[in-house]
Symmetry: C2
Subunit: 212 residues, 2 copies
């Protein structure tokens, strides 16, 4: 198999991400994060940022190739000023039809969504749209590895919950609007956060691969 040095990829993959954190660009996620300033300020980097930096680490160390998908946007109007690049002048955020993160790890297809909450005892189900649940179910049917990373900001606890457990809860506990943290602790895996990489979720994925 051909394997070339990949020093240049890091530049490409990190530059846009850095821009979304510090530059003038705005993403749907960073907008919603301004509502949760407590967690953002306390921890120095938001949950999404920590996952992105973890994925950068995995990529640059040749451990996995996992990327965040771009935010889906519906474009309505585009201007083409002479001698400069196309400028979008009217567009709207669209709901994602799949999950945010996907990639490949030791041949396995990896698919996950990452969410955080300010709640201390439950994780609100409104964080997941039904078509995301259906997408995760489809991924499992094709032999992929699907999960959610759930961060309780005020507890500073992060869990990996396999999608099969989320799906079961979603359909069987139809009346409930939230997952109790006890269910997540029982059916999921706590991720001990590190300095580098911040959220070493592949350690848990290794366990999921063994189970399969």
């Amino acid at each position: 198999m051909v394997n070339y040095p990949n020093g240049r990829l890091r530049t490409h993959s990190t530059v846009p991400k850095k821009k979304t954190q510090t530059g003038p660009s705005v993403t749907k996620k960073s907008i919603s994060k301004t509502k949760g300033i407590v967690a953002f300020g306390k921890r120095g980097m938001n949950f999404e940022g920590e996952i992105n930096s973890t994925n950068d680490y995995y990529l640059s160390h040749g451990l996995a190739v996992i990327h965040k998908k771009p935010t889906p946007i519906q474009i309505v109007k585009v201007d083409y000023p002479q001698r400069s690049r196309a400028k979008i002048t009217e567009a709207y955020f669209r709901q994602a039809s799949t999950t945010d993160y996907s990639g490949v790890y030791k041949g396995h297809y990896i698919d996950f969504e990452a969410k955080e909450t300010q709640q201390k005892t439950v994780f609100p189900l409104k964080n997941f749209h039904e078509h995301q649940i259906v997408h995760m179910s489809n991924v499992l049917s094709q032999g992929g590895i699907a999960f959610v990373l759930l961060h309780f900001a005020r507890l500073n606890e992060t869990y990996l919950l396999p999608s099969s457990r989320l799906i079961t809860f979603y359909y069987e506990k139809n009346g409930l609007k939230s997952i109790p943290i006890s269910y997540i602790r029982e059916k999921g895996y706590k991720i001990e956060t590190n300095h580098i990489p911040r959220i070493p979720y592949l350690e848990i994925v290794n366990k999921l691969c063994e189970v399969q």
Copy 2:
């Protein structure tokens, strides 16, 4: 493994795609396609549309879960009109750092880029950015299946070229700006287009899985 009926996913996954083909929204791809009106008009549906409809077919028949990633966009200004949703008023197209399509098929991670040309004897390499080449190389290193779908619009011929072959050509034939069609015919696989699905590329992917 939990496996729920997935009738609703099709609705979600196809609506945005249909909008990009017939509605007021504009994507980077559809803009560039207006330059190639010949192919667009002749064939009723452009190459990207045919691949999307193929993926819809694979998804709805439970054969594979493969999606096109959203076009990456850098957002500069967002308005928040009262009582209505956020409106993006200044944004720009960004170069994709990975390939356009990815997903899972029988447990395998699938990753590909699809491009068409008006040339008859060569496929211009400018269709692929270097970081896309590096991304495909990373995917191969992790045991994923990576390839490009190349469509010669005027010949009405479509080929699947494994990324390993593209990468070899890209680095070893550094002086050349195009891949001769003879190389693609020798190292790639011709895809016989169908009525449904339009571009049955999974038949070739089955062969690639056997080789691995």
